[in-house]
Amino acid sequence: MGASVDVRDLRVVAQSDQDEQVLVEGVSFSMRPGEVLALIGESGSGKTTTALALMGYARPGCRIAGGSIRIGEVEVTALDAAAQRRLRGRTVAYIAQSAAASFNPSRTLMDQVVEPVRIHGLMPREEAERKAVALFRELALPEPERIGARYPHQVSGGQLQRLMAAMAMMADPDVIVLDEPTTALDVTTQIEVLGAFRRVVRERQVTAVYVSHDLAVVAQMADHVLVMRHGRPREYARIEQVLEAPAEAYTRELLAAAHPAPRPSALTPEATAERALLEVRELSAGYGKVDAKGRPEQLILHDIELKLWRGQTIGVIGESGSGKSTLARCIAGLIEPCEGYVLFDNRYLARTVAERTRENLRRIQMVFQIADTALNPAQEIGEILARPLRFYFGLRGAPLRQRVAELLDLVKLPAAVAGRRPGGLSGGQKQRINLARALAAQPDLILCDEVTSALDPVVAAAILDLIAELRRELNLACLFISHDLHTVRALCDEVVVMRHGRKLAQVAREDYARGPHHPYYELLARSVPELRRGWLDEVLAQPHHAA
């Protein structure tokens, strides 16, 4: 049975040598037992910090500087360290975003699931194991009797996330904190996990705090929503009210970003009359040892066929492991295909970067998923953008500096950014630089690999706008890889659906709404959370998802 939670004027600060930085300020909310509150906002908005404070915990270097947190009759901020340790895992449990990183790979799942209750000395091992198996069953895990004997790498990501929930529920906590528990999962897996979470939360009547950046997911789970930005509360209301009549401009921005509007296409009828710019024929690729026939041990791509015209954007969609990134890397020449060809502008492209001409390398540019790892932290932005200009065009001196400034202007960043390192930029800014570097080569084709996936919705929407604008201005062809069908449909002229390394279907923009399509495409389309209450119930009611 859950407990009530009452937070008043919470204030969390980060302390460095001299100065104090306010992370969260003025946050107040109260929850009745069994209620679910969603904390929503972009990264850095203080939502996780707020959720962690419920356990009396602040990250290293931070501290809870003021306010009151009451769980039931207990004032959390007044507890000493030992009492707070007893509180954690027993009264308040925490489910982290990445279950894979939270489990110890060298111990069995059962060992780890029963660990919290053993540490707190709540029940003997046999009883704990019986309870764990019951929880596994409740969370719809396969083979509940035996799954505990496995190791973390032997179960899927979605199962691991549910095992983490089982671990959290072991001590019958009054409050659970779910920190983006489904963000790292594929959409089809997300549905099962959300369904399992919600059932457990409802049946046991625990009070839950759900941290997320995804309004559509929150709409399925929460009773109330607290919208946060820059460490301050922006809007606190019932979920229905937030969805239907948001009071704050920022909330409306979030809502708009949650269902992206279609971007205008850059594809002209004249372009399709010519030969395709890029043609992929029977392309196969893989990893591992190569056998006598030249086939690698592990095939990632099977016989991919694809045509892309100048100015066209094709979206490649699929779940993790579907081979969509491998496809982009094959086209870029970073991975050598074992069979098939890539034709570019009517000529066969060499298989690897080393064999391609510099001109062909210039005309195909790749933009990577995570701007953090795609920009060298030791180089200044000016240098990052200048290198391709020097490399491909031999620019030097004033024309070089002028072109760098033009590129920054093209992606709507101030020229002063050139003197900074990537560490001094926000996620969205970094992704803009990432794009600008690709555009520096004046390519005909850009390969965008999940370029918006790591960004907050509002920032991602701005990047999509930028790509849509640039492809029209520069007549770019674009292969847009994503796991998010909403995004792909908003931006692309055609959608290619991939699964297990095969191309299952190709759907043109005008047919998005008209069906029926390939069942897997339909499944993906159904699995994308929709921004209304009751969507999850409808999906779970369908035979395929009946868990």
């Binding site: 060298n376 180089q379 002063a416």
Partner: protein
């Protein structure tokens, strides 16, 4: 839609350089700079004759600040002259060892495949030879000249530097920005120098400091065994050996060179720690 995520640069607060380095870091840099200076211009600083026949093992006095050694030579002068060998040889061999290690490591990481395997195994083999024995063999074969000492110490410490640098470089090589450079058509040299090197310099500086200490200690122990710089020239290790007779009496002649060795190694580590820490915070 406006470019929503453009905000003005947060101007870094102007702080005095000294504050960032910390008092200990400054102390380390000061001591290190002092010893380097002594090593460079020491001989010209000495006024009198170092070999003046005075009392043997004289205690510290106004005439001989650090007393005299077993032949009655001024101890301060001996240490000043020895600095050239200890600091110079150690610094040269450390830089040589780390430089070679980093270069080979980056080459291995950027090449991969059999080049990486061959290099790694070859250097692992070198590690399996006991370092003192290798040094002994080298000195026995080529004599105890300064170039031989520098080469010996460098060869002994290359594999360690290589191991650490390769581990770092391989991680950097897996980053997307290296893939971007590859896809652009950049050559191996560019990948090594512009993409990998700047990202491993920080940790390798720390490694350099540690390795410097090992080299100083190796050279000192070789000198102590009589395998190092040969008389009449003397590094600090030799000074300890020569005057070991007064150790039981707490003679300043043996304590002073030992303290000199300690101060050098500690200073290098203080300096490197604060420099590396500053780099870390700047990210």
């Amino acid at each position: 839609m406006p470019a929503i995520d453009v905000k003005p640069a947060a101007a870094p607060k102007p702080r005095r350089r000294t504050r960032r380095l910390g008092a200990l870091g400054l102390l380390g840099i000061a001591i290190l700079a002092g010893w380097l200076l002594v090593a460079l211009i020491g001989p010209w600083l000495l006024s009198g004759d170092a070999i003046g026949a005075a009392q043997v093992f004289a205690p510290a006095s106004s005439a001989h600040w650090l007393g005299t050694d077993y032949l009655g030579r001024d101890m301060l002068a001996r240490i000043v002259l020895g600095a050239r060998y200890t600091v110079g040889v150690a610094l040269l061999s450390t830089v040589l060892a780390c430089g070679t290690g980093i270069l080979l490591a980056m080459f291995a990481a950027a090449s991969g495949g059999w080049i990486d395997a061959v290099l790694s195994r070859a250097l692992d083999t070198l590690t399996s030879v006991p370092s003192k024995m290798l040094a002994l063999l080298m000195v026995a074969a080529f004599g105890a000249s300064v170039p031989v000492l520098v080469t010996t110490a460098a060869v002994i410490y290359v594999p360690g530097a290589y191991r650490i640098a390769r581990a770092l470089a391989v991680n950097i090589y897996a980053m997307d920005y290296v893939a971007v450079a590859c896809a652009r058509g950049e050559g191996r040299l560019y990948l090594m120098v512009r993409e990998i090197l700047p990202n491993i310099v920080g940790p390798m500086l720390v490694d350099l400091g540690l390795r410097f200490v090992y080299v100083v200690l190796l050279l000192a122990s070789m000198s102590f065994l009589g395998l190092g710089v040969q008389p009449p020239a003397a590094d600090w290790g030799t000074l300890v050996r020569e005057n070991i007779g007064v150790l039981a009496d707490g003679g300043v002649a043996v304590i002073a060179p030992a303290l000199a060795i300690a101060s050098l190694t500690i200073a290098v580590n203080l300096a490197i720690d604060s420099l590396a820490g500053r780099r870390g915070r700047a990210r």
